[in-house]
């Protein structure tokens, strides 16, 4: 019993999550009501609902939390955050869990982290998102035969003027690159 009680109060991971989330995330206020999980459009696909994840964070179950698919299934609709009676910044905490999982290489086997990396790669080099490049690079890497499946939709989007063939580069891309480089240095030293 004593061991369980000690574990339940083990604050390290709990504190790490709060410290890594910008603003006042109010994680400590969670009353385990489950409104978040009940509101979540991806709740069915998640290993654990956000409510369960918060209880696990408080219990210090770091590895289980970071290996869970929950944050990667969050679609950033903010419905949970909107409805949370305790004003817990649930979506922001999901972003934090993704970041810690990537940093500590504990994320689940999904291709979601790599999708983020490909998306960012275009932004870092051009300053704007580039959907055709993102989709083709991601599909070729993870599901090459899937390209044929979505090719029809891609052609439709291009003919309707909904998808660009070439990426747009902002004027001061060098300035943006310096900013992001400096920001990454600061992140590492944090």
């Amino acid at each position: 019993m004593t061991v369980v009680a000690t574990q339940a109060r083990a604050p390290t991971f709990f504190k790490q999550v709060i410290a890594a989330t910008p603003g006042e995330c109010h994680l400590e206020r969670c009353i385990q009501c489950g409104t978040c999980g009940g509101s979540c459009p991806s709740g069915n696909d998640m290993d654990h609902t956000p409510r369960a994840i918060f209880a696990m964070i408080e219990a210090g179950m770091k590895e289980e939390v970071l290996k869970s698919n929950t944050p990667w299934y969050c679609v950033s609709c903010y419905y949970c955050m909107e409805r949370c009676p305790q004003e817990v910044h649930i979506t922001d905490i999901m972003y934090t869990l993704k970041r810690i999982a990537v940093q500590e290489k504990l994320y689940d086997s999904s291709t979601a982290p790599d999708f983020s990396k490909t998306f960012i790669n275009w932004v870092e080099n051009y300053g704007r998102a580039f959907e055709l490049g993102l989709m083709s690079m991601h599909m070729l890497k993870h599901n090459p035969f899937g390209v044929f499946k979505i090719a029809g939709m891609g052609v439709g989007m291009v003919t309707k003027g909904r998808m660009a063939f070439t990426p747009t580069r902002i004027r001061d891309i060098d300035g943006l690159k310096s900013i992001l480089e400096k920001a990454k240095e600061l992140e590492v030293s944090a």
């Binding site: 972003y95 004027r171 900013i179």
Partner: protein, 136 residues
């Protein structure tokens, strides 16, 4: 009524219909949208999943660019994701001195700076409802 305008990457192409209809109504309603010079992607939900400081620096660059507009202290975004990112960046920089300092150190590398609270970030619908009003 003049506003700095952040269109966002989606409105350029895949959400072009939203852009065209926004442009069609803002003129007649007297909303003058002035596109932020050389704006960049807000990072959507992807950048923040990997790097916190860089994601906020990416967003803040747009706010810093918008402060160069002498005609308006308000930024309007029609895309909900862009709106949220810009708004959150301004708010969290105000709430967290540490974040604000880091973001500004990063911005300085590109010759820019942003003081949180300088601009008011608003959604296009907020402007239509509250500045133009129901009666028009």
């Amino acid at each position: 009524m003049k506003y700095s305008y952040f269109p966002g990457c989606s409105l350029e192409k895949n959400a072009a219909a939203y852009h065209i209809s926004s442009m069609a109504i803002t003129g007649p309603l007297g909303i003058d949208l002035q596109e932020i010079d050389d704006w960049n992607c807000c990072g959507a939900t992807e950048y923040i999943s990997l790097n916190l400081t860089a994601s906020y620096a990416l967003i803040a660059r747009n706010l810093a660019q918008a402060t160069k507009n002498p005609d308006s202290k308000q930024v309007v975004a029609p895309c909900s994701a862009c709106y949220l990112n810009l708004k959150k960046c301004d708010r969290y920089m105000a709430e967290s001195k540490k974040l604000s300092e880091k973001v500004n150190q990063a911005l300085a590398a590109g010759g820019l700076s942003y003081k949180p609270g300088t601009l008011k970030v608003r959604h296009l619908l907020d402007v239509v409802v509250n500045d133009v009003g129901w009666m028009r």
